[in-house]
């Protein structure tokens, strides 16, 4: 059944990288630049944004006006192809009573082809949450350890933004950020109302270029202030590995990429070290083995964890002497609030496309109150801000027909504002993933079973967020359009925010963690994890910038070890 690897196998590689998204792309870029020969195995298909992205077509060109469906959940033109919440022949299961959504892009570049682009830095509190409130665990590293890598990643991927100047919201040193775009009227209005209530608003840090970024191999252009970023960006303004790190790594001549390669397990050898991996060719169904001196797992939190659980001696998994593999799963909380603002009705038209998403946002601002015990939840949340011209929300239109409806649409266009909550979830014992004892995917690989539960902290946090959002709307004489439901019913399901993290957490102690601060597994010294699985906590701040920074840090460490002969 297992065949010798295809033709590239005669060229030895030093490192196998599983996955080509943020972590895999950064690993490939950093390692190849250091002279390390790399092989990327990507479970999804090859993908070329230049050839495939339809940036300019109006939604009316698409079936159903581009509305999301089970086939294309984020709309017809969305960049995610051949993957999503469901993947043909690749199920996952859930324990009874759990609702977990597992987003699996199956394409070169992974989730970076479609992502939120909001890239806040974690702060000092975020790395030491246990020390602050006694919940969860501390990271083995602190903000100062990661800061230099944040600086470099911001310059590398291109981030625009401004100073924040708030507790636990570190600012970037000069030279890291490109200038942020000007805020739009609804954003300015939310700012005015929020500030009057003591809620701060700041320029968001966004991974979209507002200045050109020249490069011999992968030049990227400043955003031209049009087209939805989630379709992908052929001018490279939005960061995605397929228009940046991957072509740059390929240009070194040190990188090979094999797509449609579904890695099934890490193969280990005599000394307990990994000798390589086994993968299934998605097109032929054939199994292949490839060997290398080290294996980088960057398949995404769930897949990386599944791979390790399916490796090693039957039933135990690889690198799981702590028993923590699969535990401590978190996602961000999510909830959306919106209102119709009469004062914005019929306002003067101008181009509000801007750089795609939000230009400004509301960072968490209540650390002092929290410290004093005045909040009924631990950890924080932020609001992403929305509201632009376009077709008004159904709920913002009256139940009328005829000329009155046309007038109502004109009036309501640009008069609805949104505050979208993203909050921290604290790991709990009822939320984890494990191997389903009976179900396998079409390749014969055992699948993941998820258990998921929000705790009181998250529920109270969302309830608090709703009060805060509604207070802003009320200050603007807004008509609130949200359903009047308990917080449990307005929260997103686990996984729905696509920030799953923590299932192979890093730590200082091999007994309670899976990897060290460089992602190296305690049990197998040449298996290095670089994706969100390694996070010791999942702060409300979107994780991709930190994934990139930690992958850069881990890759440089791995390159040093390889060149020093430590992994000979």
């Amino acid at each position: 059944m297992t065949k010798a690897a295809p033709k590239f196998a005669d060229t030895p590689v030093d490192v196998i990288i599983v996955g080509s998204g943020a972590a895999g792309g950064m690993a490939a870029y950093t390692l190849t630049k250091a002279g390390v020969r790399c092989l990327i195995l990507e479970a999804g298909r090859d993908y070329d944004p230049q050839a495939e992205v339809n940036m300019f077509a109006p939604e009316s060109d698409a079936p159903l006006r581009g509305t999301g469906t089970a086939d294309k959940p984020f709309g017809y033109f969305d960049a995610t192809v051949d993957g999503g919440w469901q993947v043909e022949g690749e199920p996952y299961t859930m324990t009874e009573g759990s609702d977990f959504r597992w987003w699996r892009p199956r394409m070169l570049g992974g989730r970076t082809n479609h992502w939120g682009r909001h890239v806040p830095r974690f702060g000092a509190y975020d790395f030491k949450p246990f020390s602050r409130d006694g919940l969860g665990v501390d990271w083995p590293i602190g903000y100062d350890d990661v800061a230099p890598f944040y600086d470099r990643v911001e310059r590398m991927i291109g981030v625009n933004g401004g100073p924040i100047g708030l507790e636990n919201h570190p600012d970037s040193p000069a030279g890291c950020l490109m200038p942020p775009p000007k805020p739009r009227v609804p954003e300015l209005l939310i700012t005015a109302a929020a500030e009057s209530l003591g809620i701060p608003v700041r320029a968001a840090h966004t991974a979209v270029l507002t200045r050109d970024m020249p490069d011999k191999v992968a030049p990227r252009s400043a955003c031209f202030n049009a087209t939805p970023c989630t379709r992908g960006c052929t001018i490279g303004a939005m960061f995605q590995t397929t228009t940046s790190l991957l072509p740059m790594a390929k240009a070194t001549g040190k990188l090979r990429v094999v797509t449609d390669a579904m890695v099934s397990r890490v193969v280990t050898g005599a000394r307990g070290r990994a000798t390589g991996v086994e993968y299934v060719d998605r097109k032929t169904g054939q199994r292949h083995q490839v060997t290398a001196r080290a294996v980088v797992l960057a398949a995404g939190t769930g897949e990386t964890t599944r791979l390790l659980l399916n490796s090693g001696e039957a039933g135990r998994g690889l690198a799981n002497s702590s028993g923590q593999l699969g535990r401590n799963l978190t996602d961000s909380t999510g909830a959306s609030f919106r209102a119709f603002i009469p004062g914005l009705a019929g306002r003067p038209r101008y181009n509000e496309d801007g750089i795609g998403g939000q230009h400004i946002y509301i960072p968490f601002w209540l650390y002092e109150q929290q410290k004093r015990g005045e909040l009924d939840f631990a950890r924080g949340y932020h609001f992403e801000i929305g509201g632009r011209f376009g077709i008004p929300a159904e709920a913002a239109l009256p139940r009328v027909w005829g000329k009155g409806l046309k007038q109502a649409v004109r009036n309501a266009s640009g008069a609805t504002i949104n505050l979208t909550l993203r909050g921290e979830m604290i790991p709990n014992k009822d939320t984890f993933c494990e191997i389903d004892p009976t179900v396998k995917d079409k390749f014969g690989i055992p699948v993941l079973r998820f258990a998921f539960r929000w705790s009181k902290h998250e529920v109270n946090q969302v309830a608090h967020g709703r009060r805060a959002a509604h207070s802003v709307f009320k200050r603007l004489n807004g008509t609130i359009l949200d359903p009047d439901l308990p917080p449990e019913q307005i929260m997103t399901a686990g996984g729905e925010i696509i920030h799953e993290l923590g299932t192979a957490r890093m730590g200082a102690d091999p007994k309670s963690s899976v990897v060290d601060s460089y992602g190296q597994t305690w049990d197998v010294d040449n298996v290095v994890l670089m994706d969100g699985a390694t996070f010791a906590s999942g702060p409300h701040k979107n994780p991709t910038l930190t994934i990139l920074a930690l992958a850069l840090r881990a890759s440089e460490r791995l390159a040093t070890r390889l060149s020093s002969g430590a992994l000979a």
Partner: protein, 238 residues
């Protein structure tokens, strides 16, 4: 930056004072509560509609540069004619744009209700049953299908289908019209003619930094702030 306890309490008090019942009519779902009955005897909601034939969606990996609708359409010629007529009533021609039926948005309605996805299949049942109900109700009222009625007779029905609080018997007909109306809004305003009607400006690359609000938009914003007794945020002055 930190905030005083007083500040925190201030916005909390504001939030608590907010009544969720204070929502507009717009957000209200079709209520089963007894609303005023329409000026006619309401016929029964159709028990069922023709089952949907098996059809495939566009799949998870369609060619994004050449979008196609792969599924067969549903509406018969008379049904489509009724939909077009409804389109021209719901969103009629005026000085700014043509009627939704005349513009061909009926084709979008047909495409939508024919799609093999769960939301669209739910809507299919609602729309087809609604069309059958409209004809049945029209026959009882004036002896002919909806399309055969006078403008005044059709308007009476549309009025009954857009009441704020429908009677129990009208709950399903009103839910049908809510859905059809929202589909016409989506179908119409996503077309160039609809965008122009809304005065939409965008979808055009602008080189250099994003210019931000125009002077006219800024003046409107300043006046709005003043009316709300809010201060100009510092970020707008940069």
């Amino acid at each position: 930056m930190t905030f005083t306890r007083r500040t925190t309490l201030q916005w909390f008090a504001t939030a608590t004072a907010l009544s969720l019942a204070n929502r507009g009519v717009a957000a209200a779902a079709v209520s089963q509560a007894a609303g005023a009955a329409p000026p006619f005897k309401v016929v029964d909601w159709p028990a069922s509609v023709a089952p949907m034939l098996a059809a495939k969606g566009y799949g998870r990996d369609p060619d994004l540069t050449a979008p196609k609708v792969p599924w067969p359409l549903t509406l018969t010629k008379p049904q489509r004619a009724t939909i077009d007529m409804l389109g021209d009533m719901i969103l009629p021609a005026d000085g700014a744009s043509p009627g939704a039926g005349t513009l061909g948005v009926g084709a979008f309605i047909d495409e939508w209700i024919s799609a093999p996805y769960s939301q669209q299949q739910e809507d299919r049942v609602k729309i087809l049953a609604g069309l059958a109900w409209l004809d049945a109700q029209s026959r009882v009222l004036h002896g002919g299908d909806f399309a055969a009625g006078t403008a005044a007779q059709r308007a009476t029905l549309l009025d009954a289908l857009t009441v704020e609080t429908p009677s129990a018997a009208m709950a399903q007909p009103v839910a049908f019209m809510d859905r059809l109306r929202n589909l016409f809004v989506l179908g119409f305003y996503s077309l160039p003619e609809g965008k122009a009607d809304m005065g939409y400006i965008g979808d055009q690359p602008t080189e250099g930094p994003y210019p931000g609000p125009t002077p006219e938009a800024q003046a409107h914003f300043a006046a709005l702030l003043a009316s709300l007794k809010l201060s100009m945020p510092s970020s707008s002055r940069a």
